[in-house]
C-alpha cells in the first residue's frame, strides 16, 4: 500500500480481555517496528522485525505482550489480559530495512482499557 495502515484506529476493551492490533506496512519494507505512546509523551519501543531474522523483543513490557509478523508483511501485536496501564496509542512503523534513515508511521491504534 501507499502508507502504513493500522487497525482498528480505536479500541475500547474491558480489563482482563485480550486484544489484537494489526499493522500493514508499506509493500517491500523489511523492517517493522511497534511503539507505544502515552498521552503527549515520546515513543516507547516495544519490538522490531527485520526480514527473516528473529525479532528484537527487548522493549516488550511484560509477557502479556507478543507480536508476530506473517510472511514478512502484516504484523499483529497481541496484549493478553489487558490492564488499565496498557491504555495508550500503539504505533507501527516500517522502513526499507533496518539501516534506512527514517521510518514511515501509521496513524496508530488508540487502546483504552476500562
Amino acid at each position: 500500500g501507499a502508507g502504513v495502515s493500522q487497525s482498528p484506529s480505536n479500541k475500547v476493551t474491558e480489563k482482563g480481555k485480550d486484544v489484537e492490533l494489526r499493522c500493514d506496512p508499506i509493500s517491500g519494507h523489511t523492517a517493522l517496528y511497534w511503539y507505544r505512546q502515552s498521552l503527549g509523551q515520546g515513543l516507547e519501543f516495544l519490538i522490531y522485525f527485520q526480514g527473516n531474522s528473529a525479532p528484537d523483543k527487548s522493549g516488550l513490557p511484560s509477557d502479556r505482550f507478543s507480536a508476530e509478523r506473517t510472511g514478512g508483511s502484516v504484523s499483529t501485536l497481541t496484549i493478553q489480559r489487558t490492564q488499565q496501564e496498557d491504555s495508550a496509542v500503539y504505533l507501527c512503523a516500517s522502513s526499507r530495512d533496518l539501516e534506512s534513515y527514517g521510518y514511515t508511521f501509521g496513524s496508530g491504534t488508540r487502546l483504552t482499557v476500562v
Binding site: L91, Y101, G108
Partner: protein, 107 residues
Amino acid sequence: TQLLEQSPQFLSIQEGENLTVYCNSSSVFSSLQWYRQEPGEGPVLLVTVVTGGEVKKLKRLTFQFGDARKDSSLHITAAQPGDTGLYLCAPNYQLIWGAGTKLIIKP
C-alpha cells in the same frame, strides 16, 4: 543506558516569532532524525542529520547536528500556526526517543 533529553518540554509563542528546541544526549550517534507529530497521527519524518556539524534547512526550519554528534537543535524562523505539533528526535535504529517538545504557535 542511552538517554535523549529534549527541551523545552513545552513552548507556546506568537506567530512570527523565532524559536529553538534541543535534543541532547551523553551518547554519540551515527545519525539523528527529527519528526513532527500532530494529534491523532503518527510522527512524520522531517530530516535526518548524519555528519557532525551538519546543518540542514527545510524552508523555515534549520536543523543542526553537534560536532560531537551527541546533540542537535531545531530552529524555526517566523513560526506559523501550521508548525504546531510535538517535535520528537530519535537516533539511528530509533529504539529510544526523546519525550518531545510540544510546540504551540498562536495566531
